[in-house]
């Protein structure tokens, strides 16, 4: 039913949004910090790397710069929260709004085309693979490397301290953990990952556009929660794997919806489908649990 190219396209976009899901896992799940900065840091990553690539930088260096810019944005949100005591959700909204102007300043116009520029993908096209397979192979390698690095980080001393901060801040402080710094580091890392996704997305789509961040948070959450519903995240490794699987499943669901003329679905329904998917993913595991406990009681 899905063409090969549509299928690869879903994997490509899914792998990129897997990085977004990693970021949202860090902020939402590990630190318990609802962070809307991502709607701004995704186009920030795209903007920074697009400007630098146009300026003749090596695309990988441009991507690294995008990550640093994203980390700076995340750090601003966290500092607003930790140091200035602004409610976390509000702090992230403030940064997100500010980033819209910042992104316009960085790009100096709303849209920068990368269609004929060298990107991280360019050298890979010479490998003799089909045109639509190249991004999937490269982004799969990137996603796995990032996942392994994150997994190792979460087991390090700092990573454990960060998890303790999110799980029980009071206890963490009693153990001598500087929870404020942990929040700043965690939210910065989270937005660095999201900016990296934005940078790679712009490079594979051929353009950076200030409007491309709209709804990133919802899609990231849908991927995170969907992945958790499929693969119960009993360990950090499984949780990260769930992010990746969830992001790919979400994109497959959209690809199917685009092909779902047979049940009368149209693209106009996509936002509704997303909301339904997220709701189901949140409700179903609990429902299974309550059904089980219902039978256990009786």
């Amino acid at each position: 039913m899905l063409s090969e190219i549509a299928l690869y396209g879903a994997f490509e976009t899914g792998l990129i949004y897997g990085l977004v899901a990693f970021g949202i896992y860090l902020s939402f799940r590990v630190l318990d910090f609802p962070d809307l900065t991502v709607d701004g840091s995704f186009p920030l990553g795209a903007a920074v790397s697009a400007v630098l690539i146009i300026g003749g930088w090596n695309p990988w260096l441009a991507t690294a710069a995008a990550i640093l810019a994203g980390m700076a944005a995340g750090a601003v949100t966290a500092i607003l929260n930790v140091r200035l005591k602004i409610l976390n959700l509000l702090a992230s909204i403030l940064t997100m709004i500010a980033l819209y102007s910042v992104n316009l300043r960085i790009m100096d116009r709303p849209n920068i085309a990368l269609l004929s520029e060298d990107t991280v993908l360019t050298p890979w096209y010479d490998l003799g693979l089909a045109f639509h397979q190249v991004p999937v192979i490269l982004f799969l390698i990137v996603a796995i490397v990032v996942m392994v690095l994150l997994w190792r980080f979460m087991q390090s001393e700092v990573g454990l301290a960060m998890r303790a901060t999110g799980a029980n801040p009071r206890m963490a402080r009693a153990q001598g953990i500087a929870t404020g710094w942990m929040i700043i580091l965690g939210v910065a890392l989270s937005n660095g990952l999201v900016a990296m996704a934005g940078s790679l997305f712009a490079q594979s789509q051929g353009a950076a556009d200030v409007t491309m961040g709209v709804g990133v948070i919802v899609i990231g959450l849908a991927s995170l929660i969907g992945g958790e519903a499929v693969l119960s995240p009993r360990s950090v490794f499984r949780a990260l794997l769930a992010c990746l699987i969830g992001a790919i499943l979400y994109r497959l669901a959209i690809a199917l919806a685009l092909n779902a003329d047979f049940i009368g679905l149209k693209t106009q329904d996509l936002n509704l489908i997303t909301a339904v998917l997220v709701t189901l993913a949140i409700v179903l595991p609990n429902a299974r649990h309550s059904v089980k406990s219902f039978f256990a009681r009786s």
Partner: protein
């Protein structure tokens, strides 16, 4: 059974079978970044133009139409879906959709539409000779003709104000062009930015005292909230001109017709040429030529301007505010 009826049935069957063999419909896949009256009109224009050229929907041509709901990730997936289905032509409406299709399609003819700056968006190398597999129709406004019209109504205006959304690629391209054209005429452009419809009123107010006339482009954000600018124009007695005719019946003084349905008709012509076997890279990027003057004398009065009788006489439509 009667022999002649049997005969008739058999021959009817043969005709049907022959028809099915002969007329495999051509596929035109259309992707647009968002549902929006102007962009929807482009799609309608494409279909009507092809129908007039003899492509009957369902028999000669089959349409596949998707909207990305303003989401670039979905736009990219739509592009991949289309490329995988190998249609005869992909029509991409508005800049972000056109860019995602251009990034995904290699051998399929692509016709973009409603893209203001195709060269700046890196869709084509040049307007005259697009090259490769892509061409299309730009919705760049005929700014010179619009400014001629504006100066005919208010010859003394020296400072021209405009409200625009700095986040909209098409709007920024238009404002840049506008600034150059005004410079060449010895006039100055006064810009006011509004990133969403709720900011348009404030932006329009900031122009009061700084401009002699206001000209609105086809910026989506500003056109959505044109009433806000018009109300400021009426209170401060600043004449407001529009780029699209629909805004004249909402209270702007005049517009030299620009209609997205016509953009669609032009796009349909290009699609027809490609279906007939032409190579997209050889078809120059076109623009809209159908223009008609719409005026609103009552609105002019409210903004402290008298429309000259010859201007009204030249108008194709004299409208009143709805």
């Amino acid at each position: 059974m009667n022999r002649s009826i049997l005969k008739a049935l058999v021959s009817a069957g043969l005709v049907l079978a022959a028809g099915a063999l002969h007329a495999e419909p051509r596929t035109v896949a259309v992707t647009q970044i968002v549902e929006h009256p102007a962009l929807d009109a482009v799609y309608e224009g494409v279909k009507d133009e092809l129908a007039e050229a003899g492509y009957k929907e369902g028999e000669d041509v089959r349409y596949v139409h998707e909207s990305a709901q303003a989401n670039t990730a979905v736009a990219s997936q739509i592009a991949r879906k289309f490329v995988g289905e190998q249609p005869d032509v992909i029509v991409a409406i508005a800049t972000p959709s056109a860019q995602t299709v251009a990034a995904a399609a290699r051998n399929i003819p692509v016709v973009f539409s409603a893209v203001t700056d195709p060269v700046g968006a890196r869709l084509v190398k040049s307007l005259e000779k697009p090259g490769a597999n892509i061409t299309g129709i730009t919705d760049m406004l005929p700014l010179d003709k619009h400014l001629d019209m504006l100066q005919r109504v208010v010859p003394d205006a020296k400072r021209i104000g405009t409200v625009y959304n700095p986040g909209e690629a098409n709007a920024v391209a238009l404002v840049d062009q506008l600034e150059k054209k005004l410079d060449a005429r010895g006039l100055t452009l006064v810009k006011a930015a509004a990133t969403k419809t709720s900011e348009v009123l404030g932006a329009a107010r900031s122009l009061v005292g700084k401009t002699d006339a206001i000209y609105l482009t086809t910026d989506n954000t500003v056109v959505s909230a044109a009433e806000a600018v018009i109300s400021v124009g009426e209170r401060a007695k600043i004449p407001v001109f529009a780029a699209d005719t629909a805004t004249v019946s909402r209270g702007a003084i005049a517009a030299l017709g620009f209609d997205y349905y016509d953009v669609g008709r032009q796009t349909g012509k290009v699609v027809g040429r490609i279906l007939a076997g032409e190579n997209p890279g050889d078809i120059p990027v076109g623009g809209v030529d159908a223009l008609s003057l719409f005026v609103n004398p009552e609105a002019a009065k409210r903004m402290g301007v008298e429309l000259a009788p010859d201007v009204i006489a030249d108008a194709e439509e004299v409208v009143t505010t709805e």
